[in-house]
C-alpha cells in the first residue's frame, strides 16, 4: 500500500509539473461546446423545420386537401410547405436546400375518389436524417386514411363522383332527391360506425418511447455528452503515451528491476488517470448542467461515469500503445483509432443525426456505450440498475486490459 501511494504521489507531481496540458484538456471541450451551442442556437434556439416543396400537377380539391393536411395542429409548426414549379422543385432538392420534394401527378384527385391506383412521388434530402422522415410519416398516415374512408364510405363517394361526372359531361344538375339520398346514406353509415368508435374500445395510454423522446432535447444538448466523451478520449490518448516517456527515460527498465513490480506501477498510473478524469469532468459538467438546466443532483454519478469511461479508454489506448513497435507508430495508430471512435461513437455527430445502421454500430463502440448511457441518465431515461450492469462489464474489461498491459510491459515493452 505504501509503495502504491508512493507511485501515485510521484505521478501527481509529474502531472502538476505540466499544467498547460490541463488547460488543453479543459479548453478543447469548452471551445467545441461553445461553438456547437452558438452554431445550433443553444438550448432556447429555434426547432428544426421541415422545408417541403410541392409540385401540384393536379390542382384538384383532393390535392388541396392533401396539402392542407400539413398545416394542421403541431405539423404547422414543424413543416413549411411551398408550392413551386417542377423545375424549381428539382433544383432545390438537388442543391439540398429543402428537406423533401413532393410531386402530385395530374389525375391524382380523380383516382383517389374513384379508388383507382395512383402514386405520389417524394424525393428526400439524403443529407437530412430526421426531417424528411416526418413528411414520409404524414403521407403514410394519409394513404391509410384514404384506404379506410373508401372501405366505409366507398359507395357514397362513388355516388357523389357519378353526380359530378354527370354534371361535367351532360351539364345535368344533380337533383335534390339524389343529394338527399346520399346524405341520408352517409348519415346512416356514420350512425352505424359511431358505436364502434365512441367510446373507444381501446384506451391508449401514451408512454414516451425513450428512443423517440430524444427529440425533446435541444440540438445543443445532444452534443453536450458527446463533447465530454471527446475530451475523455483525448485525455486517455495523451495519458497512455506516457509509457513511451517512461521507456525512453530509462525509468521503466529501472522499474522492472525493483521489488515492487509492474502491477503497482501501472495501478498507480491508473489511479492518477482516474483523478484527472474526475477533476476534468467535475470542472466541465457543472458548466453544461447549468446551461442545459440539468439537475445538479446528477453531477456525482455523471462524474463517476465519465471517470469510469476515461479509465477504461485509457487502458484501451495503453494496450494499443504497447502493441506498437515505435513511439511514432503508436502515436499514428492511436490517432487512427481515436478519430473513427469519436466519429462513430457520437462525439462529432450525435447518434440522432446518424443513419440507423451507423448509430447502431456506434452505440456499441467503447466510447459510444458509455456516451449513450450517460446521455440517457441526463435525460432521466435510464435506471441505475442498467448503468450498474454496464459499469460491472466495463470494470471487468478494464481489469483484463490492466493484466494484459502489465504482462506486455514486463515481457517485451520494457526491454525495448
Amino acid at each position: 500500500m505504501h509503495t502504491l501511494w508512493n507511485e501515485v504521489e510521484k505521478e501527481i507531481r509529474r502531472r502538476l509539473g505540466d499544467r498547460w496540458v490541463f488547460l488543453y484538456w479543459v479548453g478543447i471541450p469548452l471551445v467545441i461546446g461553445t461553438i456547437v451551442t452558438v452554431g445550433t442556437g443553444g438550448s432556447a434556439g429555434p426547432k428544426p423545420v421541415v422545408e417541403l416543396v410541392v409540385v401540384d400537377r393536379d390542382e384538384s380539391f383532393v390535392s388541396s386537401m392533401l396539402l392542407s393536411s400539413f398545416e394542421q395542429g403541431e405539423l404547422k409548426e414543424r413543416i413549411r410547405v411551398d408550392s413551386v414549379s417542377a423545375d424549381v422543385g428539382e433544383e432545390l432538392i438537388s442543391r439540398g436546400e429543402v428537406s423533401a420534394l413532393l410531386i402530385i401527378p395530374s389525375g391524382f384527385g380523380d383516382a383517389v375518389l374513384r379508388d383507382q391506383p395512383t402514386s405520389l412521388t417524394l424525393k428526400t434530402n439524403p443529407a437530412q436524417a430526421i426531417l424528411p422522415r416526418i413528411v414520409e410519416e404524414v403521407l403514410n398516415v394519409e394513404v391509410d386514411a384514404v384506404f379506410y374512408a373508401h372501405r366505409i364510405f366507398g359507395e357514397e363517394v362513388r355516388g357523389v363522383v357519378d353526380l359530378i361526372d354527370a354534371f361535367e359531361n351532360d351539364g345535368a344538375r344533380p337533383d335534390e332527391e339524389a343529394i338527399a339520398a346520399i346524405s341520408v346514406q352517409i348519415s346512416r353509415v356514420v350512425e352505424q360506425v359511431v358505436p364502434f368508435l365512441l367510446p373507444p374500445a381501446i384506451e391508449v395510454e401514451m408512454i414516451e418511447d425513450p428512443s423517440q423522446s430524444e427529440q425533446h432535447a435541444s440540438f445543443a444538448f445532444l452534443f453536450f455528452p458527446g463533447v465530454l466523451m471527446m475530451s475523455t478520449l483525448l485525455i486517455a490518448q495523451g495519458l497512455s503515451g506516457d509509457v513511451w516517456n517512461e521507456r525512453e527515460s530509462g525509468t521503466l527498465s529501472r522499474m522492472v528491476s525493483m521489488p515492487q513490480g509492474l502491477t503497482c506501477f501501472l495501478t498507480g498510473k491508473l489511479i492518477v488517470a482516474a483523478l484527472i478524469f474526475l477533476v476534468i469532468s467535475s470542472l466541465l459538467l457543472p458548466a453544461g448542467f447549468y446551461y442545459h438546466a440539468v439537475s445538479f443532483t446528477k453531477l456525482p454519478l455523471a462524474s463517476f461515469w465519465l471517470t469510469l469511461a476515461g479509465c477504461s479508454l485509457y487502458l484501451l489506448m495503453l494496450a494499443i500503445q504497447l502493441s506498437c513497435p515505435t513511439r511514432k507508430s503508436a502515436g499514428l495508430f492511436t490517432t487512427l483509432v481515436l478519430f473513427p471512435l469519436m466519429m462513430i461513437g457520437g462525439s462529432f455527430f450525435p447518434f440522432e443525426t446518424m443513419p440507423d445502421w451507423m448509430a447502431a454500430i456506434g452505440k456499441w463502440s467503447p466510447n459510444g456505450v458509455m456516451l449513450e448511457h450517460l446521455k440517457r441518465y441526463l435525460l432521466d431515461q435510464h435506471s441505475l440498475i442498467e448503468m450498474l450492469g454496464v459499469a460491472v462489464a466495463v470494470v471487468t474489461g478494464s481489469c483484463v486490459l490492466l493484466v494484459v498491459a502489465t504482462a506486455v510491459i514486463r515481457h517485451s515493452f520494457a526491454k525495448g
Binding site: 504521489e9 510521484k10 527498465s253 529501472r254 522499474m255 522492472v256 525493483m258 515492487q260
Partner: protein, 310 residues
C-alpha cells in the same frame, strides 16, 4: 554478493551469452569488460531482472533471482548506462520516489535523501527540476537513485559515459566508497583506466563468452612484456602472414585484415625499422602507427583483437 552460474541467453538461433559464470564478493568491485556486442549488457540485463536467462541462474545476496525475485531485488541497486530519472521532478523528489519504491518511508527516507543529496553534491539545487541540470549533475543523480536504499549489490553499467573529467573523478570515488562500505559492485566500462583503477577482479567477454578472468595483476602477467604495434593502412593479408613468419620471428599477429594489422612483440620500439622495412617490401601502405606498452588495454586488444572503445 553476486553469483552468476552457467548463464545463457538465446534469441532464436542467436546465442548472446553462453555459459558465463563469476561471483563478486561484498566489498569487491568486479569489472565486466568487453567490446560492443560482447554480451555485457545481456549479462547485466539478466542480473537486474530485465531479461530472463535461457539457462543458468543468478543469485543476489544468496537469493535466487528467478524463484525469489522480489526479495533478491530488494538488495539490488542499479546505475544504468542511460539516465533513469524523472526529468520533470527535482532531485529530492526523484530520490524520495526511488527510495520509497524500495519500501523506505518517514524520517528514515527523508534523512537518507538528504544524506545522498549531500553525497552526490546536489544539495544546493535539490528543489530544481532535473531537466535544468547539466549532464554531470544528472549522472550523479542517476547514481544517487541507485544507492538511495543502501543496496548490498550495485550494478553500474558504464556510468561515466558522456561525463566531464571532474564529475567522472567524483563518481569513481563514490563507486569505491560503496565497495568500501561493503557492497558487491559489478562495474562495466569502456575506459580501461577506470577498470585498472577500481576493479579487484575482472572478467573479459567477447562473443558472449568469458575469454579471461582474474585480478588486474594476473591478467597483466598473461601478456608478458610484449608491446602492441598497431598499423592502419592497406595490407595484403596472405603476404603479411608469410613474410612476418619468415622475417620477424617471435612476433605474434593479433589482428590481420585488409586495413588493420596488430602484432605483439618484445622491444617493439627498437624493431620498428625492421617492421617498416618488411612492410615496404610487400608494398603495404601504412597510414598510421600506434605503439602500446603492456597494459590492460593492450591485453584486451590481444584477447579480443579490438579496441575497447570501438
Amino acid at each position: 554478493m553476486i553469483e552468476v552460474q552457467g548463464l545463457r541467453k538465446q534469441y532464436g538461433d542467436f546465442v548472446a551469452v553462453d555459459g558465463v559464470s563469476f561471483s563478486a564478493q561484498p566489498g569487491q568491485i568486479f569489472g565486466l569488460l568487453g567490446p560492443n556486442g560482447a554480451g555485457k549488457s545481456t549479462v547485466i540485463g539478466c542480473i537486474s531482472g530485465l531479461l530472463s536467462p535461457t539457462a543458468g541462474n543468478v543469485r543476489l545476496v544468496g537469493r535466487d533471482l528467478t524463484t525469489d525475485g522480489p526479495e533478491a531485488k530488494r538488495h539490488l541497486g542499479i546505475v544504468p548506462q542511460d539516465l533513469a530519472i524523472y526529468e520533470e521532478l527535482s532531485a529530492t523528489e526523484n530520490l524520495t520516489y526511488w527510495g520509497g519504491a524500495y519500501g523506505m518511508r518517514g524520517s528514515e527516507l527523508s534523512d537518507r535523501v538528504a544524506e545522498v543529496l549531500a553525497y552526490i553534491g546536489l544539495l544546493d539545487r535539490a528543489k530544481e527540476p532535473t531537466k535544468r541540470y547539466s549532464g554531470g549533475m544528472k549522472r550523479r543523480l542517476n547514481f544517487g537513485c541507485g544507492i538511495v536504499h543502501r543496496p548490498k549489490v550495485l550494478l553500474l553499467d558504464e556510468p561515466t559515459v558522456a561525463i566531464d573529467p571532474q564529475s567522472r573523478g567524483r563518481l569513481l570515488d563514490m563507486v569505491q566508497e560503496q565497495a568500501d562500505g561493503g557492497a558487491a559492485v559489478l562495474y562495466t566500462s569502456h575506459y580501461m583506466e577506470e577498470a585498472e583503477r577500481l576493479c579487484n577482479q575482472l572478467v573479459i567477454m567477447d562473443h558472449g563468452i568469458v575469454i579471461a578472468e582474474g585480478t588486474v595483476d594476473e591478467l597483466r602477467a598473461t601478456l608478458g612484456e610484449r608491446d602492441i604495434l598497431q598499423f592502419s593502412g592497406t595490407f595484403a593479408p596472405e603476404r603479411v602472414r608469410q613474410i612476418f613468419g619468415e622475417r620477424l620471428t617471435g612476433t605474434e599477429i593479433l589482428t590481420l585484415e585488409e586495413d588493420i594489422l596488430q602484432v605483439a612483440m618484445e622491444g617493439a620500439s627498437h624493431k620498428l625499422p625492421d617492421v617498416f622495412h618488411v612492410l615496404n617490401e610487400i608494398d603495404a601502405d601504412v597510414s598510421e602507427t600506434v605503439l602500446r606498452r603492456p597494459n590492460l588495454e593492450s591485453l584486451f586488444i590481444k584477447l579480443t583483437g579490438k579496441d575497447l572503445r570501438k
